[in-house]
C-alpha cells in the first residue's frame, strides 16, 4: 500500500517566516538591484525538509521567493539535484534575470501539476575576484515526496499582477525506498571532466538520456576555470535536456577550485563536499579530494568516510565517487598514492564495491584491488573506474598490471544495480560499447 505523505509546502506563506526581513510586507518591492549586494552567504531552514539551504561566501543569503517578475523572467539552465533523501525529496535549480525573485514549483504525481511550493533565491557575483556578472539563482526543494514515483513539474513564478511565467513541463522520478522496495533496480550514470569540451558534453548528455538513468554522478571538472560563468553556462545549457529530468550531484574537481559558482549552482546533500545518500540498493558516497584545506583529506573527509561507511554496512552496494583516481594508467596524472594511503584503506576496510573517479581524461577499469594486491574476481577487492571522458581534451593511457581495460576516449558509464547484481556498461561518445562488467553477490 502506498501511503500518501503530504508534501511539505516549503515557505508556503510569509507568516511562517516572520523572522526573515526579506519576507516583510514590502518584500515585493525589493528587487535587490539598488541595495548593495552582501555576499557573506547564509542559511535558510526549509520547513518539512529537515535541512537548510546554505550559501557560501561569495553569494548572498538565501531568501524566500517573492512575487517579482523582472524583464526576462523565463527560467533557463534548469537542472535537478537533491539536498535530502532522493527517495522523498528533489531540488530544482534554475536561473532568470537578476530582478526576478518569484520562485515557484508546480508539481504533481503522474501528469498532474496540482501542488505548489515556493523555493529560495539568491545572487552571487561570478568571475575571478568577483569581477564578473551577478547571477540570480532560484532553488526549490520538494520534500515528503512518495518514493519510486514519477512526478511532473514546472518552475517559474507569478508576479504581483498575476502574470505567470513558467518553464515547460518536465518529469522526474524519486528513488525507490530500500525498505519498502528491497528488490528495486536503479540505473546510475557516471561521467566527468567535460571542461572545455561542451560540444562533446552536449552529445554525451543526449546519449545518456537514451539510457534513461535515475541518477547522474558527475565526477568533477565540469569547467576549466571554476569562476568562469561562461563555461558553466555552456555546461548547463548543453546538458539541460537531460538535467531537467534526472537529478545530478557532483564530486568537486580540482578545476572547480571551490568556487562559489560550483556550490551556488548545484543542489547537493550535506555540506556539498563530502556527503552520502541511499538510492535504492545503492549507498553512494561522494568526496571532495581538492578541498580548500588539504588537511581535510586525512581529517574531515576521512572521518566522514569512516563514519559513513560504518553506518552503511548493510547496503547491498557501496560506491564512492571522487575526482582524482587512486588507480589510473593515465599518463597525465596516473595513480594518486596519497589518496590511496588516506582513503584506500577505508575502502578496503568496508569492502567498497566500486570507486568511480575522473581527473585523467580517459576511460579505465581496474582489476579488483585490495591494499596493493591485484585480485582476479570482484570478491578480491574494489574495482576502480576512471570515467574522465565527458568532453575535455583526451590524455594518453599506458596499461599497468592493475588495468583490466583502458582507452583514451570520450565516454560515460551506466551502472544498473539491484540486490545481488551490479551490471556496468560504458559507451564512447559515438554510442559504441566500450566496456562492461558485472558483480554478483549472494543475497
Amino acid at each position: 500500500m502506498r501511503s500518501t505523505i503530504p508534501v511539505a509546502f516549503l515557505l508556503s506563506s510569509c507568516a511562517a517566516l516572520g523572522a526573515l526581513p526579506a519576507c516583510g510586507s514590502d518584500a515585493g518591492d525589493d528587487t535587490g538591484d539598488d541595495a548593495p549586494l552582501v555576499t557573506d552567504g547564509g542559511r535558510f531552514t526549509i520547513d518539512g525538509c529537515g535541512f537548510d539551504v546554505v550559501t557560501r561566501l561569495g553569494a548572498e543569503a538565501p531568501a524566500p521567493g517573492a512575487d517579482v517578475l523582472g524583464a526576462a523572467p523565463d527560467p533557463f539552465q534548469l537542472h535537478l539535484g537533491f539536498g535530502g533523501a532522493p527517495a522523498t525529496s528533489m531540488a530544482m535549480v534554475w536561473r532568470t534575470d537578476l530582478d526576478t525573485t518569484a520562485t515557484t514549483v508546480r508539481f504533481g504525481v503522474g501528469t498532474a501539476l496540482d501542488q505548489e511550493a515556493t523555493g529560495v533565491t539568491y545572487r552571487y557575483i561570478s568571475g575571478l575576484g568577483g569581477a564578473g556578472d551577478t547571477i540570480r539563482i532560484h532553488e526549490a526543494h520538494l520534500c515528503g515526496l512518495t518514493p519510486d514515483t514519477t512526478y511532473s513539474y514546472q518552475v517559474g513564478g507569478v508576479g504581483a499582477d498575476g502574470t505567470e511565467r513558467f518553464s515547460a513541463t518536465h518529469t522526474f522520478r524519486t528513488a525507490p525506498d530500500r525498505v519498502a522496495s528491497p528488490d528495486a533496480e536503479v540505473v546510475v550514470a557516471f561521467v566527468g571532466d567535460s571542461r572545455g569540451g561542451y560540444d562533446v558534453w552536449g552529445n554525451l548528455t543526449q546519449a545518456i538520456a537514451a539510457r534513461s538513468p535515475d541518477l547522474i554522478i558527475f565526477t568533477g571538472d565540469a569547467v576549466t576555470i571554476g569562476q568562469s560563468q561562461e563555461e558553466w553556462d555552456d555546461f548547463f545549457t548543453q546538458g539541460e535536456d537531460l538535467l531537467a529530468s534526472v537529478p545530478m550531484v557532483a564530486a568537486h574537481g580540482n578545476h572547480e577550485v571551490n568556487a562559489i559558482e560550483y556550490y551556488a549552482q548545484l543542489a547537493m546533500p550535506g555540506d556539498e563536499e563530502d556527503y552520502a545518500f541511499d538510492f535504492g540498493p545503492l549507498h553512494q558516497t561522494v568526496l571532495n579530494d581538492s578541498p580548500a584545506s588539504s588537511g581535510d583529506l586525512a581529517g574531515k573527509a576521512k572521518s566522514f568516510l569512516d563514519a559513513d561507511l560504518a553506518a552503511a554496512a548493510d547496503a547491498p552496494w557501496k560506491i564512492v565517487s571522487q575526482h582524482r583516481s587512486l588507480w589510473s594508467s593515465g599518463t597525465r596524472h596516473g595513480s594518486d598514492t596519497t589518496l590511496r594511503q588516506e582513503w584506500g584503506v577505508v575502502y578496503d576496510q568496508y569492502l567498497v564495491d566500486v570507486v568511480v573517479s575522473g581527473h585523467d581524461h580517459i576511460f579505465e577499469r581496474t582489476k579488483p584491488i585490495r591494499g596493493e594486491t591485484i585480485g582476479a574476481t570482484p570478491a578480491d577487492g574494489t574495482i576502480y573506474v576512471v570515467s574522465g571522458g565527458a568532453g575535455a581534451d583526451l590524455y594518453g593511457t599506458e596499461p599497468q598490471a592493475f588495468t583490466e581495460y583502458a582507452e583514451s576516449t570520450h565516454s560515460y558509464t551506466i551502472m544498473s544495480l539491484r540486490p545481488g547484481m551490479l551490471s556496468s556498461q560504458s559507451f564512447r561518445d559515438d554510442g559504441s560499447p566500450l566496456d562492461e562488467f558485472q558483480i554478483t553477490k549472494p543475497q
Binding site: R173, Y198, I225, H255, G334, T409, D430, L434, T440
Partner: protein, 392 residues
C-alpha cells in the same frame, strides 16, 4: 559448455511453457527465487538462457511484483545479445503493460532509441543487428581492425542505413586509435562524402579535421575546420575556434621541434669539425671524443639521482627527465671531450670555447624542448603555469 547452455535454455523454455500452458492461478513457484536464478544466468554470461528465464518469470505471474522488472531485464539482455527485434518487443510490452512501473520511463527511452536505429518500420533491423554485433565484438579488443573492416563492408553494402554516418566515424576513430592513420583519414573522408547535411556533416568534417591534425597535416586540417564555420550553432563555431587554435599551436610546436632537431644535428657537426681541427685528423678526433671528459664524472651521479627521483613520479615527467639526462650525457661528453682534445693540443682559444658553449646551450635547449613536447607534457606545464600547482 555448449551442452550446458542448451540445457539451461531448455529448462527456461520449459518454464515458459509451463507458465503459459498451466492453468490459473499462477504456479506456486517463488518468483523472487526465479528472478534471482535468471540474474545468475545473466551474470554468468549465459544470455540466451537468462533472457528466456526472465521472460518466464514475467509470464508466470504477469500481475505480480516481479513481472515488470523481469520483462525489463529480458529486454536488457536481448539488447546485450544484439537481438534488437526481441528488445523492441520486450520494451514495448513494458510500456504497454506496465505504464506505471519504474521501468516504463526507461522502456520508453530504449524503445525510441531502438526504433531510431532500425527505422520506423523496422526495415533496418538486420543491418542494425549486424552493426551491433560488430561493435560488441570489438569490446576490449586490442586490435579491432577486423571489426572496422567488417563494418566498412556493411556500410558500403547499405549506404542509406540511417546509422551509417556514425558507423563511418567509428571506423575512422578505431583505425586512428590503432595507428592506421591513412586508412582512418580515408574513412573520415568517406564519412564526409556521405554525411547528410546538418549535424552529421559537421561532426564528420570535425572528425576529419581532428584526424588530419593528428596526422600532422596542419594546412589540410585548417582548411577543413574553416569550411565548417556556420554549419552548426554558436557552440560549434566556438569548438572550431578551439580547433584552429590547436592547429596553430601544433604547427608552432612542429616547427620548433624541427628547429630543435636541426640544432642538435648542427651541434654534432660543429663539435666533430672542431675536434677534427684540434686533433688534426678524423681518427684522432674520434679517439679523442670517445674518451669521457672530466665533466662527465660530475654529471653522472646527478643524472642517476634525478632519474631515480623522476621514476617515482609522473610517467610523462619521468620520460622527459630520461631524455633530458640522455641528451645532457651526450652533450657533456661530446663538448667536454672536444674541449679536452683542444686543451691537449695547446691553450684554449676564445672562439673555440664560445663555439662549444653555443653548441652546448643550443643542445640543452633543443633536448629540453623535445623532451617536454613528447606526450604533450608541455600542456601539463602550461596548465600548471596558468592554473597553479594542483597542491599537496
Amino acid at each position: 559448455m555448449r551442452a550446458a547452455t542448451i540445457g539451461r535454455i531448455l529448462v527456461a523454455v520449459a518454464l515458459v511453457a509451463l507458465a503459459v500452458v498451466g492453468a490459473a492461478p499462477a504456479r506456486a513457484g517463488d518468483p523472487a527465487a526465479d528472478f534471482r536464478a535468471a540474474t545468475r544466468l545473466y551474470a554468468d554470461g549465459d544470455l540466451d538462457a537468462a533472457q528466456a528465464a526472465f521472460e518466464a518469470v514475467a509470464a508466470a505471474d504477469p500481475r505480480g511484483p516481479w513481472a515488470d522488472d523481469a520483462l525489463s531485464e529480458a529486454a536488457n539482455v536481448a539488447e546485450k545479445r544484439g537481438d534488437l527485434d526481441a528488445a523492441r518487443r520486450l520494451w514495448r510490452r513494458v510500456v504497454d503493460e506496465y505504464p506505471q512501473s519504474r521501468q516504463s520511463r526507461r522502456a520508453r527511452a530504449r524503445l525510441a532509441a531502438i526504433e531510431a536505429e532500425i527505422g520506423a518500420g523496422g526495415q533496418w533491423l538486420e543491418v542494425a543487428e549486424q552493426h551491433e554485433a560488430i561493435l560488441r565484438a570489438a569490446i576490449g579488443v586490442s586490435d579491432p581492425t577486423p571489426q572496422a573492416r567488417a563494418l566498412a563492408a556493411l556500410v558500403a553494402a547499405h549506404p542509406d542505413y540511417p546509422r551509417a554516418p556514425e558507423a563511418r566515424l567509428w571506423i575512422g576513430d578505431t583505425l586512428l586509435r590503432v595507428g592506421e592513420v591513412d586508412r582512418a583519414l580515408a574513412a573520415y573522408r568517406d564519412a564526409v562524402a556521405h554525411a547528410p547535411a546538418g549535424d552529421a556533416a559537421w561532426r564528420a568534417g570535425k572528425a576529419l579535421g581532428d584526424g588530419l591534425l593528428v596526422a600532422g597535416r596542419f594546412d589540410d586540417a585548417e582548411h577543413v575546420y574553416r569550411g565548417l564555420y556556420g554549419q552548426g550553432d554558436a557552440l560549434a563555431d566556438r569548438a572550431l575556434d578551439g580547433a584552429l587554435d590547436d592547429v596553430a599551436r601544433a604547427r608552432r610546436r612542429h616547427r620548433l621541434g624541427l628547429a630543435a632537431w636541426l640544432a642538435l644535428g648542427l651541434g654534432v657537426l660543429v663539435v666533430a669539425g672542431l675536434a677534427w681541427r684540434s686533433a688534426g685528423g678524423p681518427i684522432a678526433a674520434l679517439r679523442g671524443l670517445a674518451r669521457p671528459p672530466l665533466e662527465l664524472w660530475y654529471f653522472l651521479p646527478v643524472a642517476v639521482v634525478l632519474g631515480a627521483v623522476a621514476a617515482s613520479g609522473n610517467q610523462l615527467v619521468e620520460r622527459a627527465v630520461r631524455w633530458i639526462l640522455l641528451g645532457g650525457l651526450v652533450t657533456t661528453w661530446l663538448c667536454g671531450a672536444g674541449l679536452e682534445l683542444a686543451r691537449r693540443r695547446g691553450r684554449l682559444r676564445l672562439p673555440l670555447v664560445a663555439a662549444h658553449l653555443a653548441v652546448a646551450i643550443a643542445a640543452v635547449a633543443s633536448v629540453g624542448y623535445l623532451a617536454v613536447m613528447h606526450d604533450r607534457l608541455i600542456d601539463m606545464i602550461a596548465e600548471t603555469i596558468a592554473h597553479g600547482h594542483e597542491g599537496r
